[in-house]
């Protein structure tokens, strides 16, 4: 009785003379490999060359500042709640007097950490963020030898104040708006 149609009958067919002398099959195989010899390679010498990323690529996160260089994040914790991998932790703090040029609102994230080994780069944190503070960028998370080094704090996440240190997320923003 046959349970499925997938089973195949084994045939012990005697090899013909042409099959037994191997040579035609060998020549055929060698022709196949020769075709590959002249084929273009798909290899990319990675650190020297980079493959172009999709505009919606999700890589290394950035914590954005506004035009005046103030951090957008208010440590509401929605990203941490949204994160399916539980990679995000933060500690909130109240803005001190005189720090108005650093933080946009009265509450800010004193500590903000993403464990890059836990992160699955799904992008739910940026969807959850009400302040347009966190974005995923087309930068690749650098490799390291130690697990501890993959817990990225604010020093690795917040973009610089200077215009040349700002990280462009317009492509990503456009994508988020289109898909909301």
């Amino acid at each position: 009785m046959q349970l499925t149609q997938r089973s195949k009958q084994v045939v012990h067919k005697e090899m013909t003379f042409m099959e037994r002398i191997y040579l035609p099959a060998i020549l055929k195989g060698m022709f196949t490999t020769l075709k590959h010899f002249f084929r273009r390679t798909n290899t990319l010498s990675y650190p020297k060359e980079h493959r172009e990323f999709a505009p919606v690529y999700r890589g290394w996160h950035v914590l954005k500042r506004d035009e005046q260089g103030r951090e957008n994040c208010t440590a509401c914790g929605l990203c941490a709640v949204a994160c399916p991998a539980e990679a995000i932790t933060m500690e909130a703090a109240e803005r001190e007097k005189g720090d108005e040029h650093l933080y946009r609102e009265e509450k800010y994230a004193a500590v903000y950490e993403i464990n890059m080994l836990r992160c699955i780069f799904c992008g739910l944190c940026e969807e959850a963020c009400p302040k347009e503070a966190i974005f995923l960028t087309d930068r690749i998370v650098p490799s390291d030898y130690v697990r501890q080094e993959f817990i990225f704090g604010k020093d690795m996440l917040v973009e610089g104040v200077e215009p040349e240190k700002r990280i462009d997320v317009t492509k990503r923003q456009r994508h988020l708006v289109e898909h909301k």
Partner: protein, 345 residues
């Protein structure tokens, strides 16, 4: 008078010594760059790039490999047969290097008004000498595999020796047909009989295929790389070897491949002869150029085969050697004998 003889002897000695050194250097150079070629060809056949970081197109890779080999830890297993263990790689590479002595690389080289013979020695049993040394090659493998005191090494060595002995029979028998045609064992004579289109491969197509298959097996090259077969025996007979001792084994295998390709070119493809090209052109340099183009072509074919065919199973190997190649070689010998009797008798 005696002075004259001494002077003549010294000139001859210097000439031969120079040639030996040059042949030695070229052999080592070709062997070193065969490793590069092997990796590049393997890469291209598999749609990859191959070594590309050391120098332009990775051309300095063999040098980097050599430095690596020399600086690795030279490990000797505790329970090995220490002296045999050390001797084996040397014996293997020595045997591999010796075979190039009787190969005619070209006719004569005219250099600075001097006339140089491009063959170290034209002994009248040249091809027998090569066969003799090739069969000695199994000692290096056997000693290395035995002295390592490792079961995988021993397996590899046993496989290698039985394989080499089996395939040497068919190789010798297919060689006899060539010798019957040429009537000489001297490689110079055999090559010089193949001027123009008179290549032996046209008279000995079956013999050539047999010889080629046996040469693959003799070099322990895929699809007959029973001695190493990484998937079954780790590294085969050189499992326990490291550093330059391992380097010697690997190097000797490439030298063997180079010599095999040279012998195939000389025996079946006219050596330094090519239709329409006089080997005496460019002051005699044309001969070596023609010969080396043939050698490099065959080295490419060797590698091409290696990266195309899967390894034979051991019983298939023995089956092919004893039940197919040897009867075919005997048949080829009989046919050649009949042909020689009919057309030349």
């Amino acid at each position: 008078m005696i002075d004259m003889i001494l002077l003549y002897d010294f000139a001859l000695f210097a000439q031969k010594a120079g040639l030996i050194v040059v042949v030695f250097a070229i052999t080592l150079g070709v062997a070193a760059y065969s490793t590069y070629g092997e990796r590049k060809i393997a890469a291209f056949l598999q749609d990859r790039l191959g070594p590309s970081n050391a120098g332009p197109w990775g051309l300095l890779q063999p040098i980097a490999d050599g430095v690596k080999m020399f600086t690795k830890e030279d490990f000797i297993p505790n329970k090995s047969e220490r002296w045999i263990y050390i001797l084996a790689p040397g014996a293997f590479i020595f045997v591999a290097l010796m075979t190039s002595a009787v190969i005619p690389w070209g006719t004569r080289l005219t250099l600075f008004g001097m006339d140089l013979d491009l063959q170290v020695t034209d002994i009248n049993i040249g091809i027998l000498y090569i066969m003799g040394f090739v069969s000695l090659g199994v000692y290096g493998i056997m000693l290395g595999g035995w002295a390592s005191n490792n079961k995988y090494s021993l397996y590899g060595a046993i496989r290698a020796s039985s394989q080499m002995i089996s395939y040497e029979l068919a190789m010798g028998l297919s060689l006899i047909a060539v010798i019957m045609l040429s009537g000489s064992l001297s490689l110079r004579t055999i090559v010089d009989q193949q001027t123009g289109f008179g290549w032996n491969v046209l008279y000995q197509p079956l013999g050539f295929i047999l010889f080629f298959v046996c040469a693959l097996a003799e070099c322990n090259r895929a699809p007959f790389d029973m001695a190493e077969c990484e998937t079954e025996l780790i590294g085969g007979y050189h499992t326990e070897y490291s550093s330059m001792k391992l380097g010697f084994f690997l190097f000797a295998e490439y030298i063997n491949m180079f010599i095999s390709c040279t012998v195939i070119s000389s025996l079946y493809f006219g050596g330094y002869h090519f239709p329409g090209i006089d080997p005496n052109w460019l002051g005699g340099l044309m001969g070596p150029i023609v010969l080396f183009s043939k050698i490099f072509f065959f080295i490419f074919v060797f590698m091409w085969i290696r990266w195309t065919l899967p390894r034979f199973r051991y019983d298939q190997l023995m089956h092919l050697g004893w039940k197919s190649l040897i009867p075919l070689a005997i048949l080829n010998m009989l046919l050649t004998g009949a042909g020689v009797l009919l057309f030349e008798g």
